[in-house]
Amino acid sequence: MVLDMHASASTGENKEYKKVYCEHHTECLKKIQAVLDGEASEAEKEHFRENMDDCLHCIKMYHLEKCVKEALQAKVDKRLCPDNLIATIKSKLNIIS
């Protein structure tokens, strides 16, 4: 699920943010993770949009979470099932391809 709100989560150097530190960072982080997982409720998405405009701390958390998630998806080696294991399973079950 691609959210257009991602585009607003930038860290423009010249922008002044209302908040630099977020005292609710634990709860905000849970909402950020739900957004990145494509599982956020409408209320969580709304909260996310507001914070991405105002809170530098939440923006930094968003970028770090997104980066770690992308590293897991793209960098961790995906092991392929050996051909001989597939052949063994099919043979044991008399499966015809």
């Binding site: 960072h25 634990t26 982080l29 849970k30 993770q33 739900a34 997982d37 494509g38 599982e39 701390h57 930094k60 958390m61 970028h63 770090l64 979470e65 980066c67 770690v68 998630k69 590293a71 897991l72 998806q73 960098k75 961790v76 080696d77 995906k78 092991r79 392929l80 099932c81 050996p82 294991l85 597939i86 063994t88 399973i89 044991k92 079950l93 499966i95 015809i96 391809s97």
Partner: protein
């Protein structure tokens, strides 16, 4: 019934009704609905067991069980989640007991610890840089992932590597969606801790940016 047997998890998901398939239909379901997931299943098995031989045995056992209980599978439904649940339960029942994993920790104990520490949760934005994670190679990220207790490793694999929804994860793991969310949150914090420690040990700059 022995104590061990009574602790075992029901491996095959309960179906609302069973379907009687003929041999040709079983063959077709196996090839069209089960086999397309075998690479994901093998990768999941390897990430759980962290051993190629154990992963081979686990995948083979899972596919043999899936075929034996194919009448419990409703054609056209979510075969991947159904197979992953069987594999996860087989792992718990057959492999985890004899796992040599050094970081094997009772899940309840871990969850209790993290619950109690949640009030003073670490803010990772101050000690792990985006650029540091981007500079890491796959083996470094995998090492951090592998060092997590298996229950935390599992939710990250299912969500971030396999792309399951929270609802699918809840069914695979037999836990409520709220628990999926909280376990994922704790797993990711633990992973960031591991990445931070690893980055520091490798000389990456982990100062606040």
């Amino acid at each position: 019934m022995s104590v061990i047997m009574s602790e075992e998890i029901e491996e095959i998901p309960l179906a609302s009704s069973e379907t009687s398939y003929n041999d040709a239909e079983k063959n077709d379901i196996f090839n069209r609905e089960f086999m397309p997931h075998i690479n994901s299943m093998y990768n999941f098995a390897f990430r759980l067991t962290m051993d190629e031989d154990d992963a081979n045995d686990l995948v083979q056992d899972t596919y043999l069980k899936a075929f034996r209980f194919i009448s419990s599978f409703e054609r056209g439904t979510n075969a991947k989640a159904w197979l992953f649940r069987i594999l996860k339960n087989s792992f718990i029942n057959d492999y985890r007991k004899r796992s040599k994993e050094p970081s094997k920790v009772d899940y309840q104990e871990v969850e209790t610890t993290y619950n109690s520490e949640e009030a003073a949760e670490v803010d990772h934005t101050t000690d792990l840089r985006v650029e540091t994670v981007q500079d890491m190679i796959g083996d470094e990220v995998a090492t951090a992932l592998n060092s997590l207790p298996v229950d935390f490793r599992t939710v990250i694999i299912l969500c971030d590597i396999e792309g399951f929804t929270y609802e699918e994860m809840a069914k695979i793991l037999d836990i409520p969606i709220g628990t999926v969310r909280s376990r994922l949150h704790r797993a990711r914090n633990l992973l960031k801790d591991k990445l931070k420690v690893y980055a520091s040990s490798m000389g990456y700059n982990t100062d606040e940016y």
